[in-house]
Symmetry: C2
Subunit: 360 residues, 2 copies
């Protein structure tokens, strides 16, 4: 038996308003005046001066606004890296991602691809990255994905949706400032928060579970229940606690894995471009068979917050399209093994998956 | 308001038997065949071949057995560093601490003092360390102190018991293998576990608390309750969970502080050499006034495990001796401020402390 030697984010700052310390934090990391910091920022913040005016740019530093309407792609990373290399005099001092899971994953991937040759798609998988990434900082502005703490960056490539899982992927620095999440619309808040909740259920009921993952998963789960089912928290407290739930949920899957919801949701993302958070919700809503208690609680949360999930998103799909989704989903073997045990292939078949997808 | 940018242990491995991976982990860190690894090992493991035979020594690597009967001292660190420098051809590749809080704190301090000039006592305080420590690994063999995760190494110096708190203090690598804790005697297990429990109570009831510390503290507290009050766990599960409780408890005080029990226990350690774990218990037992619920639960745990605390340890102390303890205790201002708020000086007086010490 060999255990993972897990890389943790080596620096973290937590606190309402801690975003103001970004300048002090990155200043010592500047390699030269010709080596800029590149800020990848969710374009929902364009013209939101309360945030943009506080991004500390100097010299040739650049802010690149990026839409998070679509899931991040390997080709998008390739384009970003090319344009960054072309427009900077020297290799950048660092990449700073400001946004949700999409922006954080892009920041991680760009920081890796600046020092690694070839195309991004070649690094999708486990431990394929050769060279350390450049310095990269994650600043979440929405909570739930766990992207701020994980050793993966999940990208949709030409052949699959799969993470670049490597010891060089985790951020060198994370800033947890819950104030940045204050304007997230309710639906987005719910879907992304549920990503954390679903992580936890998948981790806690999985066969890979150990005491490390369990303690983090239970903590995140308790926080989710408090945030999404009770009315006891102030807005600020709820934002701070969801930020911690996301962090702990991410830590929980370090030593375990996600499960059925993620495996099936990856299929939706790949074929239909469904965003990760809502995709997980659409799938999880139909997984009573695998996660009876978890789905029951999920439905209670959905009801409490008046969330209406899209229906029939697979209704018009051809058999060929369904097969593509099923293939993508079944290729995520560790997720199925975690969910259903070593003999998972006997328990889940393409036919079964097709029936499930057709309900969604 | 400025928040701490907290350094986390950048690598952690968790799992029963993961100690066997130590060789693979440190091999790439060897600087040359003349730059040995120095293993500082609790001398309770002398002749315990199940452990010592698995310490991977090569070339000039050395094992130094150290007693943990006494609290670690600054002078002890000075002596260790001198003897390591004298006996090695080149600066060591790393220091590996194997033991409880005492050994872990010694390993941290030695790794710092190999690269920093002068005497160890000069670095007791906050952020006084100038140069990065050499590579250092922490391998706890007893759970509770949180030393494996903290940015301090608490040492008794000629003038005070105080930590070397610095960004260079945390371990570069931690190995959490609960099997190493299997032979800890019951009393020691209880006292060290209660260090974690008391941390949590002090953190969760303190004025410095935030959502970060709270979530870690609550998780550790829940684990402590499960371990020390319920009978539902197997031995192995209880060992694994206590290891995680120690980890989370340590994380909890990152962003908060300990409180009255630690402040008073430092006085006992300084004057009487009382070990940290038992010292905390002796003090906490008399702190109903400050932590009514926490002390009640502590007494239930004590009863359940038939722990009899020493009594009257301060009975024969002179006024001068009591004054020394009181002075040491009151000098730990952040602990008092966390426990009692900004106006703590109005709430706790030397007279009050004297009365409390005399009960112990």
């Amino acid at each position: 038996m060999s255990y993972k030697n897990f890389p943790m984010v080596p620096r973290v700052i937590f606190g309402r308003g801690s975003f103001n310390q970004l300048s002090d934090i990155i200043a010592p990391k500047r390699l030269s005046i010709n080596a800029p910091f590149i800020f990848l920022v969710d374009d929902v913040f364009k013209n939101k001066t309360w945030l943009t005016s506080r991004i500390p740019t100097s010299y040739d530093d650049r802010i690149i606004f990026i839409s998070s309407k679509e899931e991040p792609k390997t080709s998008q990373v390739d384009e970003l890296v090319e344009e960054i290399i072309l427009k900077t005099k020297e290799r950048p001092s660092g990449i700073i991602g400001i946004g949700g899971g999409t922006l954080l994953d892009l920041a991680k991937a760009v920081s890796i691809m600046i020092t690694n040759e070839g195309e991004t798609k070649n690094y999708q998988g486990w431990d394929l990255v050769k060279n350390p990434a450049i310095y990269h900082v994650g600043i979440p502005t929405i909570s739930g994905t766990g992207a701020e703490v994980s050793r993966t960056t999940v990208l949709t490539g030409p052949e699959r949706k799969l993470g670049i899982n490597s010891d060089f992927t985790p951020f060198d620095q994370v800033i947890l400032d819950s104030e940045l999440t204050k304007d997230v619309p309710t639906e987005q808040w719910f879907y992304t928060g549920m990503d954390c909740y679903i992580h936890c259920i998948e981790s806690l009921t999985g066969t890979y579970l150990n005491a490390f993952s369990q303690s983090y998963g239970e903590m995140a789960l308790e926080l989710c229940k408090e945030i999404f089912l009770e009315d006891s928290l102030t807005k600020t407290d709820a934002q701070e606690k969801l930020m911690m739930a996301s962090w702990h949920g991410g830590m929980s899957i370090v030593y375990s894995q996600v499960g059925v919801a993620h495996a099936m949701s990856y299929g939706l993302s790949y074929l239909l471009g469904t965003k990760h958070g809502i995709g997980n919700c659409i799938v999880f809503n139909h997984l009573e068979e695998f996660y009876p208690d978890g789905v029951k609680l999920f439905k209670a949360m959905k009801k409490k917050h008046n969330i209406v999930l899209p229906k029939g998103i697979c209704a018009d799909l051809s058999d060929r399209e369904l097969d593509i989704m099923i293939k993508i989903s079944l290729s995520l073997e560790p997720l199925w093994e975690n969910a259903l045990g070593e003999n998972w292939k006997k328990k889940i078949t393409p036919k079964k998956l097709k029936e499930l997808y057709q309900k969604m």
